[in-house]
């Protein structure tokens, strides 16, 4: 057993495309920037590249730290690094901040070259399809003709699916974790509550808040609190917090009484400080819109007809936002097309968030699958 190591100090890079990108909405981005990071070395055959797609609140900073003073490493540091399941001694790993993001890629916060002002509300909504098209441009710029794999959880898993559909010749493996072929009405409903809390915040100013130097912090806080509840399971909340109180007795006021309240408030505050509200509402829209089969389960099999990549599909038992049943819909459509697929249902208490945790069976599966990839 070789010791897992951390990746160390990393730094982001910039990809600038001067080729216009026609978005699904019909709008055209004349030029755009994608922030990205890479770890490990691209081999001579250029066949060891793995693209990691991020979910709602992620970005291109997958692993490592920007300086030794950084408090936290990248968001999937437990997976990516030397001798970790996605081993950077073997693989060339790529993370990209999606269009509409707020961590350096073109998005509402970036400057519109035409107006010399932040895009704000005018930045068009980019979809999963648009993201994958932009990824492809970046991957091509790195002279990679075929990715060894595309991996993602949740919204990231949808991008892995889209890669397999759109660029069948350019991806060997899709690893789809805690994902779904589209969102259920309940899921869209949660997203709409989150959006409404942001949009109705007086500081939102119809999305043009940068110039006013305000931030819809209240709305973003509430959106995150709601999201957080749905990413956890009832069981894990029960065992972590139960009915534990902040004080010895009830205070009979509206300050936080229960530990769960204090936890949610803390999470909301932390998130609202660092995340951009315009990005948040755009990411939830991308989730809502993605539906390669256009509503019918039967069609998904047809949509998968030209897929050439192999699949690993993973779900978590306690995940009720992207339940195992939804993953099985993906598996079913793959089976209908005789596509190589492995499917595992991981017993985990932590709900949707489980895909970011270091659950032993989960990571052992990913490690074995990646080992067989090369």
């Amino acid at each position: 057993m070789t010791l897992k190591k951390n990746i160390g100090i990393v730094k982001p890079e910039i990809f600038k495309s001067l080729n216009p990108l026609r978005l699904q909405s019909g709008k055209i981005l004349k030029e755009y920037i994608l922030m990205y990071e890479t770890y490990g070395t691209l081999n001579k055959k250029k066949n060891n590249a793995v693209l990691v797609c991020h979910a709602l609140s992620g970005n291109h900073h997958l692993a490592g730290r920007y300086s030794s003073k950084d408090k936290y490493p990248g968001w999937w540091d437990n997976l990516i690094g030397p001798n970790k399941p996605l081993d950077t001694n073997k693989f060339f790993v790529i993370g990209i901040n999606n269009l509409g993001g707020s961590d350096g890629s073109s998005g509402p916060k970036s400057i519109n070259t035409k107006t010399k002002k932040p895009w704000g509300a005018d930045f068009p909504i980019a979809t999963v399809e648009d993201w994958v098209n932009s990824h492809e441009a970046l991957i091509t710029s790195l002279n990679i003709s075929k990715l060894a794999g595309v991996i993602g959880g949740s919204l990231g898993g949808m991008q892995a699916i889209q890669w397999a559909i759109k660029f069948p010749e350019r991806i060997k493996n899709a690893v789809v974790i805690a994902a779904a072929p589209n969102l259920t009405a309940q899921n869209i409903a949660f997203n709409e509550v989150a959006r409404q809390s942001i949009i109705t915040d007086p500081d939102f100013n119809k999305g043009n808040y940068y110039e006013k130097n305000t931030k819809p912090t209240r709305g973003l806080r509430i959106a995150r609190m709601l999201g957080h509840i749905t990413y956890l399971s009832n069981d894990v909340m029960g065992s972590k917090f139960g009915r534990k109180l902040q004080h010895k007795n009830y205070q009979y006021n509206f300050n936080t009484e229960f530990e769960i309240e204090s936890y949610l408030n803390y999470q909301g505050d932390k998130f609202a400080k660092q995340f951009d509200a315009n990005t948040y509402i755009r990411m939830t829209k991308a989730l809502d819109y993605y539906d390669p089969a256009n509503g019918s389960k039967r069609n998904l099999s047809k949509v998968f007809k030209n897929i050439k990549s192999k699949f690993l599909v993973i779900s978590f038992t306690s995940d009720w936002r992207f339940s195992p049943g939804r993953s099985k819909e993906i598996v079913k459509a793959l089976l209908d097309n005789n596509i190589d697929v492995k499917y595992a249902e991981i017993t985990a208490a932590s709900g949707h968030d489980a895909f970011l945790m270091e659950e032993p069976r989960y990571h052992a599966i990913l490690q074995s699958y990646f080992n067989k990839m090369l």
């Binding site: 099985k328 079913k332 089976l335 492995k342 052992a364």
Partner: protein
């Protein structure tokens, strides 16, 4: 509860003999993936295995088997009618709860079905029963308190089930220690192998 199929590989060649080259195969309860691996090598098959035990699941994955963790007790809704040339249930039927439904599902998704099981009518089992203890043998290695087996049956029993459901038996082989048994198979046979089609 894991079945260690490594001790029983002598049934693999017989199963392979019933499987056509380049068939599409589904193995229910594929364990560590050895049988599918064997059929890949000997018959150039493609297909999938279903396994619920996490350790065996991972062993199958490491062999490159398309292994799916789904509950076969709930039927096979992931598969279309006649999706497979052959569906195999090897030494697993005795641990299933909805035995009759699963056989029906197998014959729905497969054109041909291979079932193997330890024959509970084997004389060594019968003697142990007469002696007043639950039988234990090479084919039935468990104690009564830790056995995964809930639906043990004899060859006679299984013949009866096929008859009442109108499953057509195209081949049947009974083995004891790798040797074919034709003399009173329900008494002298330890392992039964059936090759079925839907009538």
């Amino acid at each position: 509860m894991k079945l260690n199929k490594n001790n029983y590989r002598y049934d693999f060649p017989i199963i392979a003999n019933w499987v056509n080259y380049n068939s599409k195969v589904l193995d229910l309860g594929c364990g560590d993936g050895e049988l599918l691996n064997y059929l890949k090598k000997e018959r150039n098959i493609t297909g999938y295995g279903i396994e619920k035990d996490p350790d065996n699941w991972l062993k199958s994955l490491k062999k490159g088997i398309n292994v799916l963790q789904v509950d076969i007790e709930a039927g096979l809704p992931e598969f279309e009618d006649n999706a497979f040339d052959v569906v195999i249930l090897s030494k697993t039927i005795q641990s299933m709860h909805n035995t009759e439904e699963i056989l029906g599902e197998m014959l729905r998704v497969g054109k041909q079905v291979i079932v193997t099981f330890p024959n509970f009518g084997y004389w060594r089992d019968r003697i142990q029963s007469i002696q007043g203890v639950m039988p234990k043998s090479k084919e039935l290695p468990y104690s009564w308190f830790n056995t995964p087996n809930v639906h043990l049956c004899t060859i006679k029993d299984f013949d009866g089930l096929c008859k009442s459901n109108k499953y057509k038996i195209i081949d049947r082989l009974v083995l004891t220690d790798n040797k074919s048994v034709s003399f009173f198979p329900n008494l002298f046979g330890a392992l039964a192998l059936y090759n079925l089609v839907n009538r």
